[in-house]
């Protein structure tokens, strides 16, 4: 999370919920006793729709739940996963916390920086990739790991990183299994 304020994001002009989103909005609002509680799910819905949250999106969410836009801005800027600016098509988040660091997260990060020719927080020129160092993603048993959009790639080596990047570049992302979870073997002691 970050407690510092976010820069004013680039604007795309006013937005409105589509008819199908309006149905989802109503469903979301029905889950909570107050309108304010819908702010996070609505920001998620908006981010799915418009990729990042700008002031117009915040205004739409504020109108939907009847609150001042500043309140939506406060929430949107508190949580790191609400994007306040566009990112590459693939957002690559490399975990750098202790368990990953113990088994080579730094090497993975350095390799990706070189391969993608970008630094931490950087966007590649072709608009495909954004690279971020992040903190523990609860995948420490299959470290080192990274998250690409919603997918976890685990037990990484520099070779598998190359395969994954090549897959993403060719538009055919590797459907690598989630080793920790999918190939789980229970070892009876």
């Amino acid at each position: 999370m970050s407690s510092h304020s976010t820069p004013i994001p680039p604007s795309r002009g006013p937005v409105e919920w589509s008819a199908s989103d309006a149905v989802k909005v109503a469903d979301i609002m029905s889950r909570y006793p107050t309108k304010q509680a819908a702010v996070m799910p609505l920001l998620w819905l908006a981010q799915d729709q418009w990729e990042w949250i700008d002031l117009d999106v915040m205004r739409l969410v504020a109108r939907t739940i009847d609150c001042p836009p500043s309140q939506v801005h406060a929430v949107a800027s508190f949580y790191t996963m609400f994007k306040k600016a566009p990112t590459g098509k693939y957002l690559i988040q490399v975990c750098q916390t202790l368990s990953c660091a113990l088994v080579g997260a730094e090497k993975i990060m350095a390799h990706l920086e070189k391969r993608l020719e970008i630094d931490d927080h950087g966007n590649s020129r072709d608009g495909l990739f954004t690279l971020l160092r992040v903190e523990c993603l609860a995948s420490c048993g299959s470290a080192p790991m990274m998250q690409v959009n919603d997918h976890f790639y685990e037990r990484l080596t520099t070779e598998t990183c190359d395969q994954i990047i090549a897959g993403l570049r060719s538009g055919k992302p590797l459907a690598l299994p989630r080793p920790e979870v999918d190939e789980w073997t229970f070892r009876v002691s």
Binding site: P33, A74, Y79, Q96, L102, K107, C140, W184, R187
Partner: protein, 440 residues
């Protein structure tokens, strides 16, 4: 070792996440059993079982439930049940398995808990990075609703319980229960002063119980087999089984369910497969990054339960995130890595925590880079001592404890860096060989 696998018993069955497979394993059969019982009876069973919260604090679950004011005191206020699935404590990844492999077990536990505390609407607060699990949980909820296990008049018993899944958006602090409540309410996820405790005044100012995923998943077995059967596992004061997330320098990282009281040495050597060839044990963090670090001597003496870890090593079982570091680890680097985490995740409300975490991190960077003085170490310890117990939530202590314990138990490594600095030796030369860096 032979013991019932209460939490992970179904994980290796194909499609264990579907309602059909879950039901064939007996999941939801305990709902009928529980809904026929009076709420007070359910609370008593859980109290008698000695089940303690698996989210980190180890608070007795039945007792927590009993703090919810009865209908005569709370009037027409609803009661809320929140499942804490924020799982962001570094080194902890067990709830992720629970939800991915057996979401229906957790939902069954929530239905039973909800009945016990008189709750009609519950939420699972799951961290934003688990979006693929969030989707799976909704699928499970829809399946359970269609089967009449969630919603109105569950299985014709007249009991109602509606369950919703709420997706977080990347903030470690939202795992702290009052921050989780603020976040669910649609505010910034910042902790609040206690009291009032959530059980009395929580979400939307109503009585609220926050329980960890693993805690709730243990409930159905207890209802089915009784408190005595649960107490028969583990130790007198730490009954039952627990999931341990094992990571770091071990051959078989993963999640292991073991009865509490199991020797730590066996967990390391048997379940975790031991250390990598030719390596020696240097340090272990037994309960997630926030708890004090342990030396090898302590590891070999300890058993995996709340009491032993605290009496032998002055540490905590915490969330059960077992992080193993062998002799290739540079502990100054390791601690610096952890403090970067705390400096980044402080919510910023309390001055000691907001300023102190960043300050400790910067001092540690200097120590790591061989440019700190002996005075810096004094300041570092001072800062940690002054953050501990002086903040709104326990996060401050969580950042201070690693610093205090590393400095106490591995002081030599820190002093070596100060000495190197005084001789003008640049970082990474003679005091630390490159492969000794955490990131190597």
């Amino acid at each position: 070792m032979d013991f019932p696998r209460i939490l992970s018993g179904n994980w290796d069955k194909p499609n264990s996440h579907t309602l059909a497979v879950a039901r064939s394993c007996g999941t939801y059969s305990r709902v009928e059993m529980a809904l026929k019982k009076a709420p007070s009876e359910l609370i008593q069973i859980v109290k008698d079982s000695g089940l303690r919260g698996r989210g980190g604090a180890g608070f007795p679950t039945g007792m927590k439930w009993s703090f919810v004011p009865g209908p005569e005191k709370r009037g027409n206020k609803p009661v809320y049940l929140l499942c804490n699935a924020d799982e962001s404590e570094p080194g902890t990844f067990k709830d992720r398995y629970c939800m991915w492999k057996d979401p229906h077990l957790m939902i069954e536990g929530m239905i039973i808990a909800a009945h016990a505390i008189g709750c009609k609407v519950g939420y699972v607060y799951i961290r934003g990075e688990f979006r693929y699990i969030y989707d799976r949980l909704w699928e499970a909820v829809h399946e359970a609703r269609a089967a009449g296990l969630l919603g109105e008049n569950i299985l014709g018993t007249g009991v109602d319980f509606q369950l919703h899944i709420h997706l977080g958006a990347g903030a470690y602090i939202c795992g702290e229960e009052t921050a989780l409540i603020s976040s669910l309410e649609g505010e910034k996820g910042q902790p609040k002063l206690k009291p009032p405790f959530p059980a009395v005044e929580g979400a939307w100012h109503c009585p609220t119980i926050v329980n960890n995923v693993e805690t709730l998943a243990a409930v159905p077995w207890i209802i089915q087999n009784g408190a005595a059967a649960y107490k028969a596992l583990g130790t007198e004061k730490s009954p039952g089984t627990k999931l341990f997330s094992c990571s770091g320098h071990i051959r078989k990282p993963g999640v292991y369910e073991i009865p509490l009281g199991y020797p730590m040495k066996d967990l390391l050597e048997i379940e975790c497969g031991g250390l990598l060839p030719g390596r020696k044990l240097k340090a272990v963090i037994p309960g997630g990054s926030s708890v004090p670090v342990m030396t090898p001597e302590e590891v070999y003496k300890c058993t995996m339960d709340y009491e032993s870890i605290s009496t032998v090593a002055g540490s905590y079982l915490g969330s059960g995130g077992f992080i193993v570091m062998d002799d290739t680890t540079d502990l100054v680097d390791a601690l610096t890595n952890l403090l970067r985490f705390y400096a980044h995740e402080s919510c910023g409300q309390c001055t000691p925590c907001r300023e102190g975490c960043g300050w400790m991190y910067h001092i540690l960077c200097r120590v790591r880079d061989n440019c700190a003085t002996a005075e810096d170490l004094v300041t570092l310890k001072d800062l940690a001592d002054n953050i501990h117990s002086k903040t709104i939530c326990f996060f401050g202590a969580s950042a201070a404890m690693p610093v205090q314990s590393f400095l106490l138990k591995f002081k030599g490594e820190f002093l070596a860096r100060i000495e190197a600095a005084s001789k003008g030796i640049p970082a990474g030369s003679s005091v630390t060989s490159p492969e000794q860096r955490v990131g190597a």
